[in-house]
Amino acid sequence: MALLDILVYPDERLKKISQPVKEFSDNLKQFILNLEETFRSFPGCVGIAAPQVGRFERVVLVDISHKPQHENHGFLILVNPKISSSAGSNVGREGCLSVPDYTGKVERSVSITLEALNEKGEKKVFQMKGYEARAVQHEIDHLDGKLFLDRLVSRRNALSKRIELST
């Protein structure tokens, strides 16, 4: 296994749109292992997307199980993830490995239905809400070349115009 370098904004490559995974090869398995090792090397981090390490394929890892106060599905390897439905919205604070020393408020869907393949190419469907749903939306944004900076809610008026919820 190996630790991979994280791309840091304003690296233009973070704006690239990642391509769907077509082949579930040994190379992909090894990459996922390396991505997980890289992810685990950042305590407190709840997700990582392949393009953050310069591989522009639609793979993300999410694991919020170290925050048991939030409902979760454990460690998730999500290949070609797609949000098929979403409901509600709230504002929560986000940060990103690719944007050091900055956090901001972002509006996200409260609950989502997520379809994805696992590392073996098997189809999975998840119903998620709150913090875990936020993490997945944040990571899928990376696959589409978006950062949480693209979705920031204005600092001053965000609170007075809507109820801000902790996710």
Binding site: F42, G44, C45, V46, G47, I48, A49, V62, K67, H70, G92, R93, E94, G95, C96, L97, D101, Y102, T103, Y131, R134, A135, H138, E139, R155, R156, L159, S160, E164, L165, S166, T167
Partner: protein
């Protein structure tokens, strides 16, 4: 060594204040750091960090000309930059109710006693001019824990007849 200044500026709001001030600082090869620029009542206010190769007196002279023209008051202080040292808040508190003298002092006093370090406070006066409403949002670090803070906030709310709520901030890093 970097030469950081804090510019504090206030004056009657009008279009173009930010553009003219920031252009003047750019003309001095200034590099802006973190800033807060907002309208408070009919006034426009600026607090900004600027790193300049020039002496404070040179910046003072340049800004004086523009501020005289725009009828703005300003002040410059030499400061340490200390960028890239953000502290993450872990709690958010919202308070609102009928406007009353001393509400900010009482609220922040109670919260400070309960260990709150305020990182950001924004307040507005809304409602009808005859019965103004005060709205305050605070983000900070609960140095003595959230339970202590919640107790202090509830007590403050009861004693001052305002609505107060708090929520933990659990920053999602992905």
């Amino acid at each position: 060594m970097e030469n950081w200044l804090m510019l504090t500026l206030v004056g009657k709001d009008r279009a173009g204040i930010v553009a003219k001030i920031s252009q003047a600082l750019f003309d001095l090869n200034g590099n802006l750091g973190e800033t807060s620029m907002t309208r408070l009542g009919g006034n426009f206010t600026i607090m900004l960090m600027v790193c300049v190769p020039e002496k404070k007196s040179v910046v003072q002279k340049k800004l004086q000309t523009i501020c005289d023209e725009l009828e703005l008051f300003f002040h410059l202080d030499e400061i340490e930059g200390e960028l890239h040292q953000h502290i993450e808040p872990d709690v958010r508190i919202s308070i609102h109710g009928a406007d009353q003298a001393g509400i900010v002092a009482r609220a922040t006093g109670s919260l400070a006693e309960a260990g709150l370090n305020i990182l950001n406070l924004e307040s507005d006066v809304g409602g009808h001019p005859d019965s103004p409403v005060y709205v305050m949002h605070i983000e900070g670090v609960a140095g003595m824990g959230l339970v202590n803070l919640e107790k202090a906030l509830q007590k403050f709310s009861r004693e001052n007849d305002v609505v107060a709520r708090m929520a933990p901030i659990d920053t999602m890093v992905g």
